[in-house]
């Protein structure tokens, strides 16, 4: 069966946007680590290192996980004068990433 190219383009848009709006309508959508799928704010929790997100600051992580900022900076070879208000995502480098920080905090908790 032949398809008109205009119809083809329209169907492409309907399918692609239909899937996205369908998921959005079902509440399965979040574009930020600051909120979950239901739009509820995400906060770091000492019980779960996976709650650490890139937008969180060094200070937030330090307070939540009871790890001094200086110790975090030293563990990842980051400059000692890094402001505690720096977002984690802005610190990403060869020596520091969020997955690494999660692992380090997880291991640090262990006796």
């Amino acid at each position: 069966m032949k398809i008109n190219p205009f119809v083809y383009g329209t169907v492409v848009l309907v399918i692609f946007l239909g899937v996205i709006f369908g998921f959005q309508g079902a509440g399965v959508w979040s574009t930020s680590g600051k909120v979950d799928g239901a739009g509820k704010g995400i906060q770091p929790s000492a019980a779960d290192v996976n709650t650490i997100k890139g937008w969180m600051t060094l200070e937030q992580v330090s307070t939540t996980f009871n790890a001094p900022v200086a110790e975090i900076l030293s563990a990842f070879n980051l400059p000692a004068d890094t402001p505690p208000s720096t977002a984690l995502k802005d610190l990403e480098s060869d020596t520091f990433d969020i997955t690494g920080l999660r692992t380090w905090l997880q291991n640090r908790k262990k006796p």
């Binding site: 492409v12 692609f16 959508w29 574009t31 995502k89």
Partner: protein, 301 residues
């Protein structure tokens, strides 16, 4: 009894507004709209910043390839994601893959903003060559002389994207980070405001400069999303059909193909590299020689 081949009619030449109301214009409008949306998201995010009380989505949140990279972690780590990805990445990835399953790699040809940027640059190059005859002659000479070498390289470079796909997806699954991010030209483009040098900037530069000489170099050789979409598109019921009886082998379709496929020699175009842009269909001067068809998956003849 001998069968008589009926020569196909030449398509009527469209004039004025009708010449603009083609599916090719429709495609450009769709591409422009999606590119403008991403530009808007990027500017708002840069302007508002991370510290803003208003929630602004990062353009990274709309990248479908991020969805493929985070999928393994999402299903194996209780709904968590690799850094820089969100639920939206998984949803957009689902949109791209479902689209591929039904309509082949239409995302690449109709929606992808990086593909659109490459199209614009190649269009600019074609415009320059039209205006400056010496430039056209130089490029044509280089192209003719390098043809055998280029044809050889083109054939094998097209496999690179499958390697990139395997590396990026398995790397993210094993290490829990996007190993491809620093090499990704799209990531480099949307994060340009951060002024951080990454190898992705070099890849972006090569892609943009390469687009002056080759159409869609990133899509042809290295795009992992296009690789995934193309492979899944093999199961799609949609395909392009060339009617040999109606075709005059003028090669206009082949010359129009941004992915460099030999359309004029194929019976059905079901290549994994076809981005379903339908430029070949639009450019074909013969009625019924090249059409979009729907049939049983994997049964196109």
């Amino acid at each position: 009894m001998t069968s008589q081949v009926v020569p196909s009619k030449v398509k009527p030449r469209l004039k004025g507004l009708k010449a603009l109301l083609t599916h090719q214009t429709f495609r450009r409008v769709v591409q422009l709209t999606f590119a403008a949306f991403i530009l808007y998201i990027t500017l708002v995010h840069v302007w508002a910043g991370e510290a803003s009380t208003n929630l602004t989505a990062s353009p990274e949140a709309f990248c479908p390839f991020g969805g493929l990279e985070t999928f393994y972690k999402y299903i194996t780590s209780a709904g968590t994601y690799v850094p820089h990805t969100h639920l939206s990445n998984l949803v957009v990835a689902a949109g791209v893959l479902i689209l591929a399953l039904l309509m082949r790699s239409a995302f690449c040809g109709w929606i992808c903003p990086l593909g659109f940027i490459q199209d614009i640059i190649h269009g600019f190059s074609a415009w320059l060559q039209k205006r400056f005859v010496p430039l056209r002659k130089v490029l044509r000479t280089i192209s003719q002389r390098g043809q055998p070498v280029w044809a050889f390289l083109d054939k094998y470079l097209r496999f690179v994207k499958y390697g990139v796909l395997i590396w990026a997806v398995t790397g993210a699954a094993i290490y829990g980070v996007m190993v491809f991010k620093d090499y990704d030209p799209w990531s480099a483009l949307i994060n340009m405001a951060e002024w951080v040098f990454t190898p992705g900037l070099v890849v972006l530069g090569l892609t943009l400069v390469g687009s002056l000489f080759v159409e869609r170099p990133w899509c042809r050789y290295a795009c992992p999303l296009g690789a995934a979409s193309g492979l899944l598109g093999k199961l799609s019921p949609v395909y392009l059909k060339r009617e040999a009886d109606a075709c005059t082998n003028c090669k206009i379709c082949t010359n129009a193909c941004p992915m460099g496929l030999n359309v004029h020699t194929a019976t059905t175009i079901t290549s994994v590299d076809c981005i379903s842009c339908l430029e070949c269909v639009g450019e074909c001067p013969r009625e019924g020689a090249l059409e979009v068809k729907i049939g049983l998956p994997l049964m196109a003849k």
